[in-house]
C-alpha cells in the first residue's frame, strides 16, 4: 500500500472522531501497521509510540484521563524528588529536625542528597553530550502556559500597547533580572493573537521576541538582539484571548524544577552557556522567603534547555529505580523518545513532552532494563550477555559460514553488538533513521511472549546488519572487521531493513515448524554440510537445510512428523484462508500460530472493516473478516503482509509435502 493509503489508515485508527463507534484500537492490527513504518506527518508518530508501548490504552475514551493522571504524577515527582534539603528547612524554620549536612545515617535527607549528587554528576556529563550533532537539544524548551515546568509569567501591566522598546528602556535595567524577563514575556504573550489588527501591528513591530531566550544581567547585547528576532509563537492556544489580559499559566509553576542544575554547576564553571549566566547574576537575591512562605528565586524565570529536561527525566528515573539507577546509555535511548515527543504538533502534547517522555521511557526501559544491570551481565537467562548470545545463535542459524568465520577470528558479539543492543541502534544511524527503525522495533512484540522477551526484531535487524556486510567481513581481518562493525558503513538502513524483514519471516516460519532456532543444540549443527544459504530465494531451500540440521538419530522420524504436521497445517491454512474453518486455540499445537495466521490483513479487508459497525472484535474476528470472498491460495499473489505470509506458507508446504 502506498504512502497516502497508509497515512489514511493511521489517521483513521488514531483519530478520536469515531470514538463512539470504535473506541478501542485493535493492537495487533495497529502493531502490524506500524511495523512497516509510521508516516511522518506531525502528530501521528507521537501517538503511535505512546500506544505501542502501552502508555495510552487501546481504548480511546480513556486517553484524556490517563494522560492527565500520568502527567500530574510526573509533576508531583518533580516537585518532591528535586527538592533540596536546605530549602525545606528554609520553609519551616520552626520545625526542628535533627538532620544536618554531615549526617551520614541512611535516612538523613542530607546523606541522600550527597548520594544523589554522584548520580547527578554522571547524568549531567552524559546528557550534555547527547546527540551533539543535533542543535535541537541545545535549544530552549518553548514556553507554554499549560506546562508547570515553564518559567513563570509575571502579571504584565506595562506592555498593553504595541510599541517598540527604546534603547533607553532596554538599558535601564535594575539589577533585578526579573524585569527583563517580564518584558520579554509580555511581548511574547501579547503578540500572539490572531486578530487582524494585531497582525497588522505585528508587521510594524519588530519585537516579537522568541519566547524562551534566557536573559542575563550583564549581557545587554544579547537581550537587544533577541528582542528583534521575529519568531512566531504557537498560535493555537491563544485563539480566544483578548488583547488586554495576558494568559496566566493554567497550572502553577513548580519551583524546584531547576534545583538539580544548581547542584552540578560547579562541574561546568568555565564554559557553557549556563556557566556564564550564573556568574553575572551576582547581586540579585537568590532564594528568599516571602512572608507567605513561598520561596522564589532567580531561576523561576529561567527557561530550560532540552537537554536539561532530559537530565531531569533521567534523574527522576534514577531516583525512582534505585535498582538500576542511571547507566550511561540511557540518555541515548531517551534522546529519540524525547525528540519525538517534543516535536509534537499537538499543543498539549508539546507542552507535556517531558512528562510523556518520562513514562514512555520508563515503559521502554522495563523491557530492556536487564541490559543495564551490571550484575546480570553474565546471567544465563537475562541481561545483555544473554541477548548477545541469542544474537550469536541467530547468526549461526541464518549464516553459519559467517558465524564460523567470526568465531575463528574470535570476533565475539561483545565487540560489536553491545552498543547496537543496549542503546538500540541510536549510535549507528542518524536520528531520523533511528526513529524509523524504532517504529519497527517497538511494534514487533508478541502478546504471547513474556515481558522479558525483548525485542526480537532488533536481533533480526542486527543479524541483517552483519549479513549486509558479509563479504567485507569474510574478506577482512579481525581488526578490519572490528573497525567496520563499529563504524557501520551502510548509512541508509533501507537495504538492511529489507533483509531484516526477510530474516524475520524466516524466523516466524521456523517457529511455525515448531522449531526454536535460537535453542539449537550444538551437536545438531555439527552435521551441517556447510552450505551457503541465500535467504532471498525460496523458502524451500531453507526448509530443506532445516531438515538436515536435525539430529541424526531422529532425522527420519522428524521429517515424517513434520510432514504429517505440515499437511495438517496446510489443510488448516487453506481452510482458514478460504473462510471455512475457524481457528481456535485448542486445536492448534502452538498457541502462537493463531497470532500468525489470524487476521488476513489486506487493504480491502481493512476498509471493509471500517465500514462495518460490528462490535464483537474479539473471538469472531476471523469469521467476520473472512466472510469476504478472499483469496484462493493459488490465485492471489499478495507478497506483503500477513495474508501474503499465509499464502507463502501454504505454498511452501504444498511444494515440500505433497511431492
Amino acid at each position: 500500500m502506498d504512502y497516502k493509503e497508509r497515512l489514511a489508515q493511521f489517521e483513521d485508527i488514531l483519530s478520536t472522531k469515531n470514538i463512539d463507534t470504535e473506541p478501542t484500537i485493535d493492537l495487533y492490527k495497529f502493531r502490524h501497521l506500524c511495523f512497516r513504518g509510521i508516516p511522518d506527518k506531525p502528530g501521528i508518530r507521537q501517538l503511535s509510540w505512546k500506544i505501542l508501548l502501552g502508555y495510552l490504552p487501546p481504548d480511546k475514551r480513556k486517553w484524556s484521563s490517563v494522560l492527565e493522571e500520568q502527567r500530574s504524577t510526573y509533576y508531583s515527582f518533580v516537585r518532591d524528588l528535586l527538592a533540596d534539603p536546605n530549602e525545606e528547612e528554609l520553609k519551616n524554620p520552626n520545625v526542628s529536625s535533627d538532620d544536618h549536612p554531615l549526617n551520614s545515617s541512611p535516612n538523613s535527607k542530607w546523606a541522600e542528597y550527597f548520594a544523589d549528587n554522584a548520580i547527578l554528576e554522571q547524568i549531567d556529563k552524559d546528557v550534555r553530550r547527547t546527540l551533539p550533532d543535533l542543535a535541537f537539544f541545545q535549544l530552549p524548551v518553548p514556553h507554554s502556559p499549560l506546562s508547570p515546568l515553564s518559567p513563570k509569567l509575571e502579571a504584565i501591566n506595562r506592555m498593553n500597547g504595541t510599541r517598540s522598546p527604546s534603547i533607553l528602556e532596554t538599558l535601564d535595567i535594575n539589577d533585578d533580572s526579573t524585569s527583563i524577563s517580564n518584558y520579554s514575556d509580555s511581548t511574547l504573550t501579547i503578540h500572539s493573537e490572531l486578530d487582524a489588527e494585531v497582525a497588522a501591528l505585528e508587521a510594524q513591530l519588530s519585537i516579537i521576541s522568541q519566547p524562551s531566550l534566557q536573559f542575563t544581567n550583564g549581557n545587554l547585547n544579547k537581550n537587544f538582539s533577541c528582542m528583534y528576532s521575529p519568531k512566531p509563537v504557537p498560535l493555537d492556544l491563544y485563539n480566544n484571548r483578548s488583547l488586554s489580559p495576558p494568559p496566566q499559566p493554567v497550572v502553577t509553576p513548580i519551583p524546584t524544577r531547576r534545583s538539580i542544575f544548581k547542584r552540578v554547576q560547579h562541574l561546568n564553571k568555565d564554559f557553557s552557556i549556563r556557566g556564564n549566566s550564573t556568574n553575572t547574576r551576582s547581586c540579585s537575591p537568590a532564594p528568599s522567603c516571602k512572608s507567605d512562605g513561598s520561596i522564589t528565586r532567580d531561576d523561576d524565570y529561567e527557561v530550560d534547555l532540552h537537554w536539561e529536561a532530559i537530565e531531569r527525566i533521567l534523574f527522576i528515573y534514577a531516583k525512582l529505580n534505585p535498582g538500576v539507577g542511571y547507566v550511561q546509555g540511557m540518555n541515548e535511548i531517551l534522546g529519540p523518545i524525547y525528540y519525538t515527543m517534543a516535536n509534537d504538533s499537538d499543543e498539549e502534547g508539546k507542552a507535556h513532552a517531558e512528562a510523556d517522555s518520562f513514562f514512555v521511557f520508563t515503559l521502554l526501559m522495563s523491557y530492556i532494563r536487564d541490559h543495564f544491570v551490571r550484575s546480570l551481565d553474565t546471567d544465563e537467562a537475562t541481561g545483555i550477555g544473554h541477548t548477545m548470545k541469542k544474537l550469536n545463535r541467530r547468526l549461526k542459524t541464518y549464516a553459519p559460514d559467517l558465524w564460523r568465520d567470526l568465531e575463528r577470528k574470535s570476533l565475539y558479539p561483545t565487540y560489536y553488538s553491545f552498543r547496537w543492543l543496549t542503546v538500540m541502534l541510536t549510535q549507528e544511524f542518524a536520528l531520523p533513521d533511528v526513529i524509523r527503525l524504532w517504529d519497527s522495533i517497538l511494534s514487533d512484540r508478541d502478546d504471547d511472549e513474556e515481558l522479558t522477551a525483548g525485542f526480537e526484531f532488533l536481533l533480526d535487524f542486527c543479524c541483517a546488519m552483519l549479513l549486509c556486510v558479509k563479504d567485507e567481513l569474510l574478506a577482512g581481518s579481525f581488526s578490519d572487521n572490528i573497525k567496520l562493525l563499529q563504524n557501520y558503513p551502510i548509512q541508509d538502513p533501507a537495504t538492511v531493513l529489507r533483509k531484516a524483514y526477510s530474516l524475520r519471516e524466516l524466523r516466524l516460519l521456523a517457529k511455525l515448524n515448531d522449531e526454536e532456532d535460537d535453542e539449537l543444540d550444538e551437536y545438531s549443527l555439527t552435521n551441517f554440510k556447510g552450505e551457503d544459504f541465500d535467504y532471498s530465494s525460496s523458502d524451500t531451500k531453507f526448509y530443506n537445510t532445516r531438515q538436515r540440521t536435525n539430529n541424526n538419530n531422529h532425522h527420519l522420524l522428524r521429517t515424517q512428523e513434520v510432514k504429517v504436521k505440515g499437511l495438517a497445517m496446510l489443510r488448516k491454512v487453506q481452510g482458514v484462508v478460504s473462510g471455512r474453518t475457524l481457528l481456535n486455540n485448542s486445536t492448534t499445537s502452538r498457541s502462537s500460530t493463531t497470532t500468525y495466521l489470524r487476521p488476513n490483513i489486506t487493504r480491502s479487508n481493512i476498509l471493509s472493516l471500517q465500514s462495518k459497525t460490528t462490535n464483537n472484535v474479539t473471538n469472531n474476528t476471523l469469521t467476520s473478516r473472512l466472510s469476504l470472498p478472499t483469496n484462493n491460495t493459488n490465485n492471489k499473489v499478495n507478497i506483503n503482509g500477513m495474508g501474503g505470509f499465509a499464502n507463502r506458507l501454504s505454498n511452501v508446504w504444498k511444494k515440500n509435502i505433497t511431492t
Partner: protein
C-alpha cells in the same frame, strides 16, 4: 548552596595531639565545598589533613601558626555576602563583640569569623553576624577557666541566607544546633531605585 566548614584553634601538636574521633568521622571528603580556618592549626600535617577534607581552603595566620606567609585577615565573597576572617588575637579585648564590630565595619563584611577564645559563639549584632567556631580539638586556652568543649561550625550559604550548624562534643556525643542568619539589604536604597523605574515606564 555552598557548604563551608569554619574551624580553628586546633593547636596540634602542641596543646593536643588530634581531633576528636567523632569529629573526624563526620568530616568526610566530598560533602564540604570550602573550608575557612580561623588560624592556629599549628602544624603542616594538620593543614594537609584539612586540605583532604575540601580542596578549597582559606586560612589566616594565628599567633601560634608555623607558616609565616599566611595573611592575617581575609575577605571571601559568596554571592551577595561578604565574609571576613581573622584570628582574633589582634582584637582587644579578646572576644568583645563591640570591638569585633569595629573590625567588621572596617572590613565592610556581613559575617565575621574569628577564633582565639576557644569558645563557640554566634552573635547577630547591628545587622552583622559574628561567628566563633571555638576550638575543634578542645585545646587549652588561657582565657577561660572551665573545660573547653570541642566545636566547629558548618555554614550552608544560599544567597543571602546562611544556615549555621554548630557541632559540639558534649560528654562524648556530638550535638548539632542550627542557627539562621539573613542579610538585610538596605531597604531604603532598594525602594528608591525601584520607584525610579516605575515612573519611567509610566
Amino acid at each position: 548552596m555552598v557548604l563551608v566548614l569554619v574551624i580553628g584553634d586546633l593547636h596540634i601538636p602542641y596543646r593536643i595531639h588530634d581531633l576528636p574521633l567523632k569529629f573526624k568521622k563526620l568530616l568526610v571528603p566530598g560533602k564540604i565545598q570550602q573550608i575557612i580556618c580561623t588560624g592556629n592549626v599549628c602544624d603542616k600535617e594538620t593543614f594537609d589533613y584539612l586540605r583532604t577534607v575540601a580542596a578549597d581552603i582559606h586560612i589566616v595566620k594565628g599567633d601560634y601558626d608555623e607558616f609565616p606567609n599566611w595573611p592575617l585577615s581575609k575577605i571571601i565573597t559568596h554571592g551577595p555576602l561578604r565574609i571576613g576572617v581573622l584570628h582574633g588575637h589582634q582584637v582587644i579585648p579578646v572576644g568583645d563583640v563591640e570591638s569585633l564590630s569595629i573590625v567588621a565595619r572596617q572590613m565592610d563584611v556581613d559575617i565575621l569569623l574569628t577564633g582565639h577564645t576557644h569558645r563557640f559563639e554566634a552573635i547577630e549584632y547591628e545587622g552583622k553576624f559574628f561567628v566563633n567556631p571555638g576550638s575543634a580539638t578542645g585545646a587549652y586556652s588561657g582565657f577561660s577557666s572551665e573545660d573547653i568543649k570541642p566545636s566547629f561550625v558548618l555554614m550552608d550559604i544560599q544567597g543571602v541566607v546562611v544556615v549555621t550548624y554548630v557541632y559540639q562534643l558534649v560528654d562524648g556525643d556530638v550535638k548539632v544546633d542550627k542557627i539562621e542568619y539573613r542579610k538585610n539589604y538596605d531597604t531604603n536604597r532598594y525602594r528608591l531605585s525601584h520607584s525610579v523605574s516605575y515612573t519611567r515606564y509610566g
